[in-house]
């Protein structure tokens, strides 16, 4: 069967959920071969094998952490040469899209980004994408080379499918540009203990209506009662009330959770671009005319400072 390269997102061998989802999709197309860069391949291999990786290609070198993007492109190119895959799949993230792009040009392949589904078609891998702030659904494929596709988190279920997962060393010869962009320092984000925004099943977001950094506690309390991630609109981020990493929308994160709860958010097109594919949408806004209400499954016209704490208490009570 044809082989499919899956680029693994991991932290010291702890594989992130979108990669496991990717293995589910990869199995529809062929035999998944995972590529793990940096330390921790041994740890990662176990979980990758449980989810269908027939082989695990591993490479470790300081270049992967010390320089931007290109060393990883060099490694994936080496993997493509070893495997001759029909497709190369990466979890969608800003950096992975850049890696995918450079790889595509190098191996003479078309590129598709932010796919939400993949299937094997008669003329190759068919990707589903959403366009124009999710108002259209398109089906595309590459007409040249192996399909290089980045896939959005939450696009497929995580399924166990045990396979051999034999770890093999991937030999990478770094290109002239590999050391072109140096990472001078890196400040890791502090973990909040809450789920990762793009991976979360439930996202609770606040906007300008939250009216202050301290008030975001109201949003956080609801999120914690539901085991949810916290999101914010750009207005809230620009006001300095919440970190930019939590911004949902065109220039923030794109999320598609099972449930999205927007409080004090009007629903501007740029915000909708990042959350419109959520399965169930709920909004709380004191303005009955707010455009967000056009999207909702359930909306409450009211003051969030009354509605949200009451909801939080009710959720907590029901859970106990």
């Amino acid at each position: 069967m044809a082989e499919v390269l899956v680029f693994v997102d991991h932290v010291d061998g702890a594989v992130r959920k979108p990669t496991l989802e990717l293995l589910t999709l990869a199995r529809r197309i062929g035999d998944p071969v995972a590529v793990v860069l940096g330390g921790g391949a041994g740890v990662a291999a176990g979980v990758l094998a449980e989810h269908g990786a027939v082989r695990v290609l591993a490479a470790d070198a300081p270049e992967f952490a010390e320089f931007l993007v290109v060393p990883k492109v060099d490694a994936l190119q080496a993997a493509v040469e070893v495997v001759s895959p029909v497709a190369v799949l990466l979890p969608s993230s800003a950096e992975n899209k850049e890696i995918a792009a450079r790889l595509a040009v190098r191996i003479g392949s078309g590129i598709i980004t932010d796919a939400t589904d993949l299937e094997a078609g008669e003329e190759g891998v068919v990707a589903t994408q959403s366009a124009f702030a999710a108002s259209f659904t398109t089906k595309s494929r590459v007409s040249r080379g192996a399909a290089v596709v980045t896939v959005k988190p939450n696009s497929a279920p995580v399924e166990a499918a045990p396979a051999a997962g034999v770890v093999e060393e991937l030999v990478v010869v770094f290109s002239a540009l590999a050391r072109g962009t140096k990472v001078l320092s890196r400040t890791p984000r502090e973990s909040t203990g809450r789920p990762e925004l793009t991976e979360a099943a439930i996202v609770v977001s606040g906007g300008r209506g939250v009216n202050g950094a301290d008030n975001f506690r109201v949003i956080e309390a609801l999120a914690d009662s539901l085991g949810a991630a916290v999101g914010a609109s750009r207005a809230a981020v620009d006001a300095g009330w919440y970190p930019h990493t939590n911004q949902v929308g065109q220039t923030g994160k794109s999320v598609s959770p099972q449930l999205y709860i927007a409080s004090g958010i009007s629903g501007a097109i740029q915000h909708r671009a990042g959350m419109q594919t959520s399965k169930t949408i709920v909004a709380i806004n004191k303005d009955a005319e707010a455009p967000i209400f056009d999207l909702v499954d359930y909306g409450v016209v009211g003051d969030l400072f009354n509605v949200v704490p009451q909801l939080t208490d009710e959720v907590t009570a029901r859970k106990n």
């Binding site: 932290v11 931007l68 993007v69 800003a94 899209k97 850049e98 890696i99 995918a100 792009a101 450079r102 595509a104 040009v105 392949s109 590129i111 598709i112 932010d114 366009a131 124009f132 999710a134 108002s135 259209f136 659904t137 398109t138 089906k139 595309s140 494929r141 590459v142 007409s143 540009l177 072109g180 962009t181 140096k182 990472v183 001078l184 320092s185 890196r186 400040t187 984000r189 930019h244 990493t245 220039t251 449930l259 097109i269 169930t280 709920v282 709380i284 999207l295 909702v296 499954d297 359930y298 409450v300 009211g302 003051d303 009354n306 509605v307 909801l311 208490d313 009710e314 029901r318 859970k319």
Partner: protein
């Protein structure tokens, strides 16, 4: 020594309009107003600031797009860029991302550059890949997704805020930079700027000028194919209730009914 900065700006359909696909599954440009992609205004802004800091610098704005794309160039010129390059050719219709990067790379090389600055993503295709593609094509360093950027002594440094960490990065020129909307508000064109823009040169280039064949670009030369584009059904109208003291509780009922609690 003069610092040559090329800013890539895209002409896009207005996101607040009713955007859709044409029969050949490319972007329908007929029914929606076009404009300079808002995210590229941030690129123009950073270019102008870098040019101000340099002893001697020239800012050229570059677009690949149909005739109307001149509007995007005029806007960038009125913000303060010095000159513009417009690549227009009927054969460009339907060009995909790898094709766009090929055309941009040729135009950048022809213009001459030390630094290329792009937006983080277009507001239509929104792939966020062109800067990386361009760096690969040009064979130079990429310093992308910067929320802060500075150029000094032939070196570009910046801050890249990623998912798991915030990084300080640096590269020697020539390089391709892309900036986010966190990099600083873009200036509004002044009346003086708008008047001055009318006199600034706009150079038009076609595929022949760039040594490219029609077969390398456009729908025919694309390495990707769109097979279908279907409008998503409008979401069915949901339940909307007014809070009269029990809004939170009723919402909890709804969430419980949907098995979220």
């Amino acid at each position: 020594m003069s610092l040559r900065i090329v800013v890539c700006v895209k002409y896009v359909p207005d996101a607040t309009g009713d955007r859709h696909f044409a029969d050949d599954l490319t972007l329908d440009r007929e029914d929606v107003d076009g404009l300079l992609s808002e995210l590229d205004e941030y690129a123009v802004e950073q270019a102008l600031q870098i040019a101000d800091e340099a002893d001697d610098a020239e800012v050229t704005v570059l677009t690949v797009g149909p005739e109307d794309a001149k509007d995007a160039l005029r806007k960038a010129l009125s913000m303060g860029a010095d000159k513009a390059v417009h690549v227009e050719d009927d054969d460009l219709h339907g060009t995909d991302a790898v094709g766009t990067s090929l055309v941009l790379a040729r135009a950048v090389e022809k213009t001459g550059y030390d630094l290329v600055i792009s937006g983080m993503a277009s507001t239509d295709g929104a792939m966020g890949v062109v800067p990386a593609l361009l760096a690969e094509r040009l064979g130079v360093a990429q310093v992308t997704l910067l929320s802060e950027v500075a150029v000094e002594g032939g070196v570009v440094t910046g801050r890249r805020d990623g998912d798991t960490a915030s990084e300080r990065v640096e590269a020697s020129l020539p390089a391709v930079v892309s900036v986010t909307d966190q990099s600083g508000e873009a200036r509004y064109p002044s009346f003086k700027g708008i008047m001055a823009a009318k006199k600034k040169p706009v150079v038009s280039l076609d595929l022949g000028d760039l040594g490219l064949d029609a077969g390398e670009v456009g729908l025919g030369g694309a390495w990707t194919v769109v097979d279908s584009a279907v409008q998503r059904p409008a979401r069915t109208a949901g339940t909307i209730v007014k809070d009269e003291g029990e809004g939170g509780k009723r919402l909890a009922e709804f969430l419980a009914g949907q098995k979220f609690i």
